[in-house]
């Protein structure tokens, strides 16, 4: 079937396209316009904006941590509306079904869950399988696991580390590797309460820096498209910009992605010893072309922090709002769940809000700064439309700033920044750049051959309203959203990479699990037939 999205303003920065025209789709792909110009179905997009489906590279949407947060906070996500007939459970608050529908309604078609403990990968994939509409992917968390730290302690070869990383990617069906407070969780198990980039993990004798460098090299050598995804040490602490700067410097000449940089954008200036260090971080990012970052924007309101940074979450547990929390000394990283409310009147929260926007606005290259709230840590993903609006209007920012504590704004540069994002820059940041960062050649753009993931928006002056409810969304060429409402369910795939490895690694790991835990490594595998949906995975090629 040949489908035409007719007469919209097509914004496709991957190909320098920004003008009124058509987008054609057939069999789930974007195609050239047919010579006779006849379509089987036509959707009128006149006066509307047409973009590729958006891609979220970092949003905690599935897995043990996320699900435990749901169970811990029943009062925060009660369903209030009855089920629509065609989309069961889509109104169940914070359910996987609602997650897929809310993302789709905003025109997002691919979302990455960035922190899956390899031992809990099956659980994460089962949840992802119950997220309708969108495609998904996971990043596997390494860097506090005994096996890797053991390899480093005994100075094993780079090849052995790469083989282990490849084994982990395959076993956990992941698209990439993340490291969370490298070494910090392992040190915490030995009662260390603060851990920086050049600190040493007791018992293993390796520094955080060495762990990050080893994983960065392994990911790069395996040809995994997505660079190592780093959650630095010292998240949330005053003066932690130094840690992020040291990590950026340590990238040297290989690619490195720093997650939710806003949470590392803090200096110690001002009367309260807490200030924005975003300008120096942005300058460092601008000067380091092989480094990419995502922001982790904070927005005001109730949320819950969900993190594999168990050390950080343990130290933050007494700031829980409401006062309950759960810490997991898990295999490898573990994690923690700490509910939190960001308040407009709170000095620190207001500085955090400004730091995120400063990073968005001070980093020059929109293809190296990624749009995230670290959902739900900075804010739920449902706040994205408001953030788009803030990025696109300095007047709107000025209104917000006027309501925030002046002392907080005084330790940031935000009030002085006049930059406004254009729609093309929004499209580059949320479509083109994420596809490139994840190695997804057929996403994030609208040229023939691309997957027909397309979002059509009203060109409303209220940008938040525009981005909250897409007029039309197509997933794999199929209409799934009309007028901001999901019209029916379809189920997407989880994207994976599977770099080659020395098969001797499998024997080593099998023996390791039997010796250390007395269990089979087979328990941690994710067979496709366990997922309960047809063809649940799609393999993304590695770069050679």
């Amino acid at each position: 079937m040949l489908t035409r999205i007719a007469g919209g303003r097509v914004i496709d920065p991957a190909h320098g396209r920004d003008g009124v025209g058509d987008v054609w789709m057939r069999d789930g792909r974007i195609v050239d316009a047919p010579p006779d110009g006849r379509a089987d179905a036509t959707y009128d997009a006149a006066k509307k904006i047409v973009m590729a489906g958006a891609i979220d590279i970092h949003s905690h949407i599935a897995g043990w941590n996320e699900n435990t947060a749901r169970l811990l906070l029943p009062e925060q996500h009660r369903a209030a509306a009855p089920r629509p007939p065609a989309t069961p459970l889509s109104n169940a608050g914070w359910s996987t079904f609602q997650t897929g529908c809310l993302y789709a309604a905003m025109g997002f078609t691919t979302v990455v869950e960035p922190a899956v403990s390899p031992h809990c990968a099956l659980h994460a994939h089962l949840e992802l399988a119950d997220i309708p509409i969108i495609d998904k992917a996971t990043l596997a968390v390494l860097g506090n696991d005994d096996y890797l730290l053991g390899l480093l302690r005994s100075s094993e070869s780079e090849a052995a580390i790469a083989d282990y990383v490849a084994w982990t990617l395959d076993m956990s069906r992941s698209l990439g590797i993340k490291v969370v407070n490298a070494g910090g969780a392992a040190a915490f198990k030995e009662n260390v309460r603060a851990f920086s980039f050049d600190d040493t993990v007791p018992s293993y004798g390796v520094t955080s820096r060495r762990i990050v460098k080893a994983l960065q090299r392994a990911v790069s050598e395996l040809g995994v498209p997505h660079p190592l995804h780093v959650h630095c040490n010292n998240l949330g602490l005053a003066g932690n910009a130094d840690t992020a700067l040291a990590t950026i410097a340590a990238a040297e000449d290989l690619p490195l992605h720093l997650a939710h940089l806003q949470f590392y954008g803090y200096g110690k200036e001002g009367e309260r010893g807490f200030s924005s260090a975003a300008p120096s971080l942005a300058a460092a990012v601008n000067a380091t072309p092989n480094v990419t970052i995502d922001v982790g924007q904070v927005m005001f309101g109730q949320t819950v922090t969900i993190s594999s940074d168990v050390l950080r979450q343990f130290n933050a547990r007494n700031q829980a709002r409401p006062r309950k929390w759960l810490i997991l000394d898990g295999d490898g990283n573990g994690g923690g769940i700490v509910p939190y409310e960001y308040r407009r009147k709170d000095f620190h929260n207001a500085v955090q809000w400004a730091v995120g926007l400063e990073l968005f606005l001070l980093i020059d290259d929109t293809r190296r700064v990624f749009f995230t709230t670290d959902h739900p840590n900075g804010a739920p993903f449902t706040s994205y439309p408001e953030i788009f609006a803030l990025l696109m209007s300095r007047d709107l920012r000025a209104q917000w700033i006027a309501d925030l504590p002046p002392a907080a704004m005084a330790v940031t540069t935000l009030p002085s920044i006049s930059r406004e994002y254009s729609l093309a820059e929004i499209a580059a940041m949320t479509r083109v750049a994420p596809a490139k960062l994840l190695g997804l050649a057929d996403r994030g753009h609208l040229a023939p051959g691309a997957i027909a993931d397309v979002a059509v928006y009203e060109d409303a002056a209220d940008r938040a309203r525009m981005f909250r409810a897409a007029a039309l969304v197509f997933k794999d060429g199929e209409l799934v959203v009309r007028g901001g409402k999901v019209t029916h369910y379809r189920f997407g795939r989880a994207l994976t990479v599977r770099p080659d490895r020395d098969r001797a690694t499998d024997r080593r790991l099998k023996a390791y699990y039997e010796d250390r835990f007395g269990i089979s490594d087979g328990y941690f595998k994710v067979p496709a037939h366990a997922i309960g949906r047809p063809e649940p995975f799609e393999r993304v090629p590695c770069v050679s």
Binding site: L73, A79, P82, A92, K324, F517, A530
Partner: protein, 363 residues
Amino acid sequence: MPQAWIAGKPATLEAAIAEAARLLRASRLPLIAGLGTDVAGARAAIALAERAGAAIDHMHSGALLRELDVMRSSGVTLTTPGETAVRADTLLFVGTGVAEAWAATQQKRRDGGAGRRVFRLCPGRSPAPLGAGATAVTAVGKKAEELPAMLAVLRAHIAGRPTGEHGPSAKALREIAAELKAARFGVAIWSAATLDALAIEMLCGLVNDLNATTRFSALPLPPADNAVGVLQTCGWMTGMPMRTGFGRGFPEHDPWLFDGRRLAQSGEADCVVWISAYGTPAPQWAAPTIALTRQAAGTTFAATPRVCIEVGCPGVDHAGVEYLPQIGTLAHVEAAKPSEAVSAANVIARLASALFGDGARPC
């Protein structure tokens, strides 16, 4: 061949499913209880419950929710079986049968925990001998009722607060408190099945207090019948744990209102679907209208179910995903003895199709 019965008389599976659909259609408030099934079975059952406006409960919800209620109103530090096995230098077992249940998950470990210090509170009258390799094994308390007071004294000692010094266990508790504080990585292990909410709350608090100076975590052992696997599934599908009702068209969680026993005994639920694929006996508190059980022929119900269908056991008759206590997460378990027995998930999906057609099913 699958085996099925209608009113105690053998029937084809198709006829049994048709009759079950008729009963559900006629019901004002169906209850889907038991829920002893794998993740696929739970997904199918929850999807059916949503469509049918039913309430859902698990046969071990009592223990599970007692524990969850404490955790969702306070703070807790947990660990995994793996970390406990390889890292813990100190174990505190609380309650009857707990040390034995833990040992059962550790049978294949070669290192039996050499040098580990082990303490047991109220282990029961004749606890099994423990501690291959453990250097200190101390047990205090015989009656479970003593536990809350004992835990309070232990916490007071750890916090350096004064306590009433009486009873034969006073000295032992003081010594245990000192040992727990001296642990490098300690783990308190319990089962909510044998503890009340107060004891669980005291244990979570004890672990928190110990973390002021050393590292200590909790490892609650899971109930049987894939209770935690069903809890997790319920969590991601509905946002809520079990004891959730869909009567108003959206999931509502209320541990009292949607307690399966209460719903059945009060007569509020007029059609009870009982699922027990792991073979646990039928409830004595209800006469299931529709029963999906592993051993239908050997199961004695309070009254003959209107429809009874024999289903396979996950991990035995067919492969399935379930929560494994030895790893502390969900795993895919292959069939140990593959058979033609039909899975609970399959029966429930066919039942849903008979009721509502194949459209608009989330699973």
